[in-house]
Symmetry: C2
Subunit: 172 residues, 2 copies
């Protein structure tokens, strides 16, 4: 195969206007996620790791992470990060499966934070096994404040979203 | 729950000495991956997206990506990136599932590259559906030259690996 043989490229990769269906899909990808790929800056280079995923009571993405993990150390130096949620099933082309890229700034909520208990209660309701380690002193919540989002609903179905598009129904 | 109630932290998060079992697991995570989370630098901020995954004939991780995607544009500006491979199954705690973080520098192999055909033949053997788009002029291979790797075999089973640890058996 060489460049002479390349067929014309069909229309694809263009950004579609954001509609209610795209917003609902993006919100579902956040609320359904039990884990995510987290991208942080490690001495200026990207580093992607897996983290548990939950939400705050109002639906913002959140994780419960340990101070001794590489990603937490990196986030304490630079809170700018990215999350990928939306996991392909075992069948079919994984690139046709919808996924959501979030670009965020993280805010830590340690045990000593007045808001900690509300997050812990909400998290344990959806992640009951986390009771084994949620109390360890090195664990804290990290809330992902979304700056911008990019929804890929499958080949050719791309949308740019903002924080307002991701707000869960009924959230303040 | 408050900081007074936190129990002592069991030994965890320490790096284990690299052994043959860890090397084999890391190599399997690369060769079994059909997709990965890719972290790139987007105007200096991390951006994580999903990409297809394959390998070169000698076992290096590789993807087939389009020039019109955000991650490719970012990689053409800065080739430093990270990959996460190793997908949890539908059952169990996703954080006990082994995964591998790679920190890499990407090298593009366009249609016009003398080595292109060998990569295309190898890729199509494992990704037959890619024949639908592999010939499009905006698609090229991106080979991930591994700088360093971090294997998480589940809670408390962490290893730091180098490129030599990831070389497939029999590879040059």
């Amino acid at each position: 195969m060489n460049s002479k043989a390349t067929p014309p490229r069909p229309l694809s990769g263009t950004i579609r206007p954001t509609d209610e269906q795209a917003r609902a899909l993006a919100r579902d990808l956040i609320s359904d996620a039990r884990f995510a790929s987290l991208g942080v800056l490690d001495n200026g280079a990207p580093m992607v790791t897996r983290v548990a995923m939950g939400t705050t009571p109002s639906g913002e993405p959140l994780t419960l992470i340990s101070d001794i993990s590489n990603h937490t150390r990196a986030l304490k130096i630079n809170p700018v990060c990215s999350l990928l949620v939306g996991e392909p099933g075992p069948k079919g082309d994984p690139l046709t499966h919808p996924r959501l890229t979030l670009q965020c700034r993280v805010k830590f909520v340690p045990h000593s934070d007045p808001g900690y208990k509300a997050h812990a209660d909400h998290y344990l309701a959806t992640h009951p096994k986390a009771k084994l380690y949620i109390g360890f002193a090195d664990f804290s919540f990290a809330i992902f404040g979304v700056i911008t989002a990019y929804l890929n609903g499958g080949f050719g179905k791309a949308y740019n979203l903002g924080p307002g598009d991701l707000k869960q129904q009924g959230a303040p």
